[in-house]
Protein backbone atom coordinates (compact mmCIF):
# COMPACT_ATOMS: atom_id res chain seq x y z
CA UNK A 1 0.00 0.00 0.00
CA UNK A 2 1.42 3.39 -0.94
CA UNK A 3 1.75 5.96 1.80
CA UNK A 4 -0.06 9.31 1.64
CA UNK A 5 1.79 12.16 -0.03
CA UNK A 6 2.79 15.43 1.58
CA UNK A 7 3.66 18.76 -0.02
CA UNK A 8 6.51 21.03 1.02
CA UNK A 9 6.60 24.56 -0.38
CA UNK A 10 10.03 26.11 0.22
CA UNK A 11 9.38 29.84 0.27
CA UNK A 12 13.08 30.69 -0.03
CA UNK A 13 13.31 29.03 -3.44
CA UNK A 14 9.59 28.80 -4.31
CA UNK A 15 10.20 25.10 -4.96
CA UNK A 16 7.26 22.75 -4.38
CA UNK A 17 8.05 19.14 -3.57
CA UNK A 18 5.40 16.41 -3.40
CA UNK A 19 6.62 13.16 -1.89
CA UNK A 20 5.40 10.10 -0.02
CA UNK A 21 5.52 10.15 3.76
CA UNK A 22 8.61 8.66 5.30
CA UNK A 23 8.18 5.60 7.53
CA UNK A 24 8.37 7.80 10.63
CA UNK A 25 5.83 10.28 9.28
CA UNK A 26 3.51 7.45 8.29
CA UNK A 27 3.81 5.86 11.74
CA UNK A 28 2.84 9.20 13.35
CA UNK A 29 -0.04 9.57 10.89
CA UNK A 30 -1.34 6.10 11.72
CA UNK A 31 -0.93 6.72 15.46
CA UNK A 32 -3.02 9.88 15.16
CA UNK A 33 -5.67 8.01 13.20
CA UNK A 34 -5.84 5.41 15.97
CA UNK A 35 -5.99 8.08 18.70
CA UNK A 36 -8.77 9.94 16.93
CA UNK A 37 -10.73 6.72 16.35
CA UNK A 38 -10.45 5.92 20.06
CA UNK A 39 -11.57 9.43 21.03
CA UNK A 40 -14.51 9.24 18.65
CA UNK A 41 -15.55 5.82 19.97
CA UNK A 42 -15.40 7.14 23.54
CA UNK A 43 -17.49 10.19 22.62
CA UNK A 44 -20.07 8.00 20.89
CA UNK A 45 -20.21 5.59 23.85
CA UNK A 46 -20.71 8.52 26.21
CA UNK A 47 -23.52 9.90 24.05
CA UNK A 48 -25.19 6.49 23.92
CA UNK A 49 -24.93 6.07 27.70
CA UNK A 50 -26.32 9.57 28.20
CA UNK A 51 -29.30 8.86 25.94
CA UNK A 52 -29.96 5.56 27.72
CA UNK A 53 -29.91 7.28 31.11
CA UNK A 54 -32.33 9.97 29.95
CA UNK A 55 -34.67 7.26 28.66
CA UNK A 56 -34.41 5.41 31.97
CA UNK A 57 -35.21 8.60 33.88
CA UNK A 58 -37.98 9.52 31.49
CA UNK A 59 -36.77 13.10 30.98
CA UNK A 60 -35.41 15.09 28.07
CA UNK A 61 -31.91 16.54 27.76
CA UNK A 62 -33.34 20.03 28.33
CA UNK A 63 -35.04 18.84 31.54
CA UNK A 64 -31.77 17.27 32.68
CA UNK A 65 -29.99 20.60 32.09
CA UNK A 66 -32.67 22.35 34.13
CA UNK A 67 -32.11 19.94 36.99
CA UNK A 68 -28.39 20.59 36.99
CA UNK A 69 -28.58 24.37 36.63
Amino acid sequence: MSKPTIRIHDLATNEVIDREMTDAEFAAYEAEQAAQATAQAEAEAKATAKAALLTKLGITAEEAKLLLS
Binding site: P4, R7, H9, D10, Y29
Partner: protein, 221 residues
Protein backbone atom coordinates in the same frame (compact mmCIF):
# COMPACT_ATOMS: atom_id res chain seq x y z
CA UNK B 1 14.18 93.34 -6.83
CA UNK B 2 11.33 94.60 -4.74
CA UNK B 3 11.84 95.40 -1.07
CA UNK B 4 9.70 92.37 -0.07
CA UNK B 5 11.97 90.06 -2.04
CA UNK B 6 15.10 91.70 -0.59
CA UNK B 7 13.85 91.16 2.96
CA UNK B 8 12.96 87.53 2.29
CA UNK B 9 16.34 86.82 0.71
CA UNK B 10 18.72 88.45 3.11
CA UNK B 11 22.29 88.40 1.88
CA UNK B 12 21.20 86.49 -1.21
CA UNK B 13 20.95 83.21 0.67
CA UNK B 14 18.21 81.81 -1.52
CA UNK B 15 19.83 81.02 -4.84
CA UNK B 16 17.91 78.12 -6.32
CA UNK B 17 14.34 77.05 -6.86
CA UNK B 18 13.07 75.18 -3.85
CA UNK B 19 15.61 76.65 -1.42
CA UNK B 20 14.48 76.97 2.18
CA UNK B 21 15.65 79.73 4.44
CA UNK B 22 16.47 78.80 8.02
CA UNK B 23 18.73 79.70 10.92
CA UNK B 24 21.73 77.42 11.28
CA UNK B 25 22.51 79.20 14.55
CA UNK B 26 21.11 82.19 16.37
CA UNK B 27 20.85 85.12 13.95
CA UNK B 28 22.64 83.10 11.26
CA UNK B 29 20.65 82.77 8.04
CA UNK B 30 21.30 79.65 6.01
CA UNK B 31 20.08 77.92 2.87
CA UNK B 32 18.69 74.42 2.69
CA UNK B 33 18.67 73.27 -0.92
CA UNK B 34 15.71 71.40 -2.20
CA UNK B 35 15.68 67.65 -1.57
CA UNK B 36 14.91 64.97 -4.09
CA UNK B 37 11.50 63.66 -5.09
CA UNK B 38 9.84 61.77 -2.27
CA UNK B 39 12.11 63.04 0.50
CA UNK B 40 10.58 64.41 3.68
CA UNK B 41 11.72 67.37 5.75
CA UNK B 42 12.92 66.25 9.15
CA UNK B 43 15.31 67.42 11.87
CA UNK B 44 18.83 66.23 12.54
CA UNK B 45 21.25 67.87 14.93
CA UNK B 46 18.75 70.60 15.69
CA UNK B 47 18.42 71.86 12.12
CA UNK B 48 16.08 70.96 9.28
CA UNK B 49 17.23 68.43 6.70
CA UNK B 50 15.83 66.28 3.97
CA UNK B 51 15.61 62.52 4.53
CA UNK B 52 14.28 59.51 2.69
CA UNK B 53 10.65 58.66 3.40
CA UNK B 54 10.24 55.63 5.65
CA UNK B 55 9.51 52.34 3.91
CA UNK B 56 5.85 51.90 3.14
CA UNK B 57 3.90 49.50 5.37
CA UNK B 58 1.19 47.15 4.26
CA UNK B 59 1.12 43.58 3.12
CA UNK B 60 3.29 41.69 0.66
CA UNK B 61 2.11 38.44 -0.89
CA UNK B 62 4.85 35.91 -0.07
CA UNK B 63 3.34 32.74 -1.50
CA UNK B 64 0.31 31.00 -2.97
CA UNK B 65 0.11 27.30 -2.17
CA UNK B 66 -2.39 24.65 -3.22
CA UNK B 67 -3.47 22.19 -0.53
CA UNK B 68 -3.06 18.55 -1.48
CA UNK B 69 -2.14 15.27 0.14
CA UNK B 70 -2.00 14.55 3.85
CA UNK B 71 -0.24 17.79 4.75
CA UNK B 72 1.25 20.91 3.23
CA UNK B 73 4.25 22.65 4.76
CA UNK B 74 5.20 26.24 4.10
CA UNK B 75 8.90 26.19 4.92
CA UNK B 76 11.67 28.81 5.05
CA UNK B 77 9.22 31.57 5.94
CA UNK B 78 11.01 34.93 5.53
CA UNK B 79 11.93 36.56 8.84
CA UNK B 80 11.76 40.12 7.51
CA UNK B 81 8.21 41.09 8.47
CA UNK B 82 6.43 42.02 11.68
CA UNK B 83 3.45 39.70 11.24
CA UNK B 84 2.17 36.89 9.06
CA UNK B 85 -1.32 37.02 7.58
CA UNK B 86 -2.89 34.02 5.86
CA UNK B 87 -6.04 33.50 3.84
CA UNK B 88 -7.22 29.88 3.56
CA UNK B 89 -10.06 29.15 1.15
CA UNK B 90 -11.86 26.45 -0.78
CA UNK B 91 -10.77 23.51 1.35
CA UNK B 92 -12.22 20.10 0.51
CA UNK B 93 -11.10 16.61 1.49
CA UNK B 94 -10.94 13.05 0.28
CA UNK B 95 -12.73 10.10 1.93
CA UNK B 96 -13.91 11.75 5.17
CA UNK B 97 -15.07 15.01 6.71
CA UNK B 98 -12.43 16.46 8.97
CA UNK B 99 -10.83 19.48 10.58
CA UNK B 100 -8.53 21.96 8.92
CA UNK B 101 -5.53 22.51 11.14
CA UNK B 102 -2.51 24.80 11.21
CA UNK B 103 0.63 23.75 13.09
CA UNK B 104 3.42 26.31 13.59
CA UNK B 105 6.88 24.74 13.29
CA UNK B 106 5.18 21.30 13.34
CA UNK B 107 5.60 21.71 17.07
CA UNK B 108 4.95 19.32 19.89
CA UNK B 109 1.81 19.27 22.02
CA UNK B 110 1.11 22.03 24.58
CA UNK B 111 2.70 24.75 22.47
CA UNK B 112 -0.63 26.37 21.75
CA UNK B 113 -3.36 27.80 23.93
CA UNK B 114 -6.40 29.81 23.00
CA UNK B 115 -10.13 30.22 23.12
CA UNK B 116 -12.46 29.55 20.24
CA UNK B 117 -15.87 31.10 19.72
CA UNK B 118 -18.50 29.84 17.31
CA UNK B 119 -22.24 29.92 16.76
CA UNK B 120 -22.94 26.19 17.08
CA UNK B 121 -23.90 26.49 20.74
CA UNK B 122 -26.49 29.12 19.91
CA UNK B 123 -24.41 31.73 21.69
CA UNK B 124 -20.79 32.66 22.04
CA UNK B 125 -18.97 29.88 23.78
CA UNK B 126 -15.45 29.44 24.97
CA UNK B 127 -13.33 26.35 24.61
CA UNK B 128 -9.98 26.15 26.27
CA UNK B 129 -7.36 24.59 24.09
CA UNK B 130 -4.07 23.00 24.81
CA UNK B 131 -2.28 21.39 21.95
CA UNK B 132 0.02 22.18 19.08
CA UNK B 133 -2.70 22.48 16.47
CA UNK B 134 -4.77 25.50 15.66
CA UNK B 135 -8.09 24.02 14.63
CA UNK B 136 -9.80 26.21 12.07
CA UNK B 137 -12.81 23.90 12.39
CA UNK B 138 -14.31 23.93 15.87
CA UNK B 139 -16.79 21.11 15.36
CA UNK B 140 -16.07 17.47 14.51
CA UNK B 141 -15.45 18.32 10.90
CA UNK B 142 -16.25 20.52 7.93
CA UNK B 143 -18.22 19.12 5.02
CA UNK B 144 -15.43 17.70 2.87
CA UNK B 145 -17.39 18.23 -0.35
CA UNK B 146 -18.25 21.87 0.27
CA UNK B 147 -15.59 24.36 -0.81
CA UNK B 148 -17.54 27.34 0.51
CA UNK B 149 -15.22 28.06 3.39
CA UNK B 150 -12.71 30.76 4.22
CA UNK B 151 -10.47 31.75 7.10
CA UNK B 152 -8.12 34.63 7.87
CA UNK B 153 -5.30 33.84 10.27
CA UNK B 154 -2.65 36.13 11.72
CA UNK B 155 0.54 35.58 13.73
CA UNK B 156 2.25 38.55 15.35
CA UNK B 157 5.78 38.80 16.68
CA UNK B 158 6.51 35.61 14.72
CA UNK B 159 10.26 36.21 14.40
CA UNK B 160 10.85 36.50 18.13
CA UNK B 161 13.26 34.02 19.65
CA UNK B 162 12.47 35.18 23.18
CA UNK B 163 8.69 35.70 23.36
CA UNK B 164 5.43 33.90 22.62
CA UNK B 165 3.51 34.65 19.44
CA UNK B 166 -0.09 35.86 19.69
CA UNK B 167 -2.43 34.74 16.96
CA UNK B 168 -6.04 35.18 15.95
CA UNK B 169 -8.29 33.83 13.23
CA UNK B 170 -11.86 34.09 12.01
CA UNK B 171 -13.75 32.31 9.31
CA UNK B 172 -16.66 30.33 8.03
CA UNK B 173 -17.29 26.71 7.03
CA UNK B 174 -20.13 24.27 6.43
CA UNK B 175 -20.54 21.83 9.29
CA UNK B 176 -20.23 18.13 8.47
CA UNK B 177 -23.14 16.88 10.51
CA UNK B 178 -26.02 18.00 12.66
CA UNK B 179 -26.78 21.25 14.41
CA UNK B 180 -26.11 24.57 12.75
CA UNK B 181 -24.78 23.93 9.27
CA UNK B 182 -23.18 27.31 8.63
CA UNK B 183 -20.51 27.81 11.25
CA UNK B 184 -18.90 31.17 11.97
CA UNK B 185 -15.81 30.71 14.08
CA UNK B 186 -13.12 32.90 15.62
CA UNK B 187 -10.28 32.31 18.01
CA UNK B 188 -7.47 34.05 19.79
CA UNK B 189 -4.51 32.73 21.67
CA UNK B 190 -0.78 32.36 21.68
CA UNK B 191 1.77 30.00 20.26
CA UNK B 192 3.70 29.24 23.42
CA UNK B 193 7.14 28.97 21.97
CA UNK B 194 10.27 31.10 22.17
CA UNK B 195 11.36 29.88 18.75
CA UNK B 196 10.68 31.98 15.68
CA UNK B 197 8.02 30.60 13.37
CA UNK B 198 9.86 29.39 10.27
CA UNK B 199 7.27 26.94 8.97
CA UNK B 200 3.53 26.34 9.02
CA UNK B 201 2.01 22.92 8.44
CA UNK B 202 -1.58 22.56 7.26
CA UNK B 203 -3.31 19.21 7.49
CA UNK B 204 -6.81 17.82 7.16
CA UNK B 205 -7.37 16.52 10.64
CA UNK B 206 -4.13 14.56 10.66
CA UNK B 207 -5.98 11.51 9.39
CA UNK B 208 -7.36 12.50 6.01
CA UNK B 209 -6.13 14.16 2.84
CA UNK B 210 -6.85 17.43 1.06
CA UNK B 211 -8.65 17.38 -2.26
CA UNK B 212 -8.40 21.13 -2.79
CA UNK B 213 -7.72 24.42 -1.07
CA UNK B 214 -5.51 27.46 -1.32
CA UNK B 215 -3.30 29.22 1.21
CA UNK B 216 -2.17 32.78 0.59
CA UNK B 217 0.65 33.92 2.88
CA UNK B 218 1.31 37.63 3.31
CA UNK B 219 4.06 39.37 5.22
CA UNK B 220 2.95 42.47 7.12
CA UNK B 221 5.30 45.32 7.91
Amino acid sequence: MTRARDVANIDGVLTTTGDIYYASAAATPARLGIGTTGQLLTVAGGVPTWAAAPAAGGMTLISTTTLTGASVTLSSIPQTYNSLYLIVTGVTGNTANSKVRCIPNNSSLSDYVGATYDNTAGAASVFGRDGSRIDLVNTAGSDRTDANNAWALQFDNYTSSTRYKPFEYYGFYVNASGGISNVVVSAAGAFRSNTAITSLVFDYGGTNTFASGTVLLYGVK
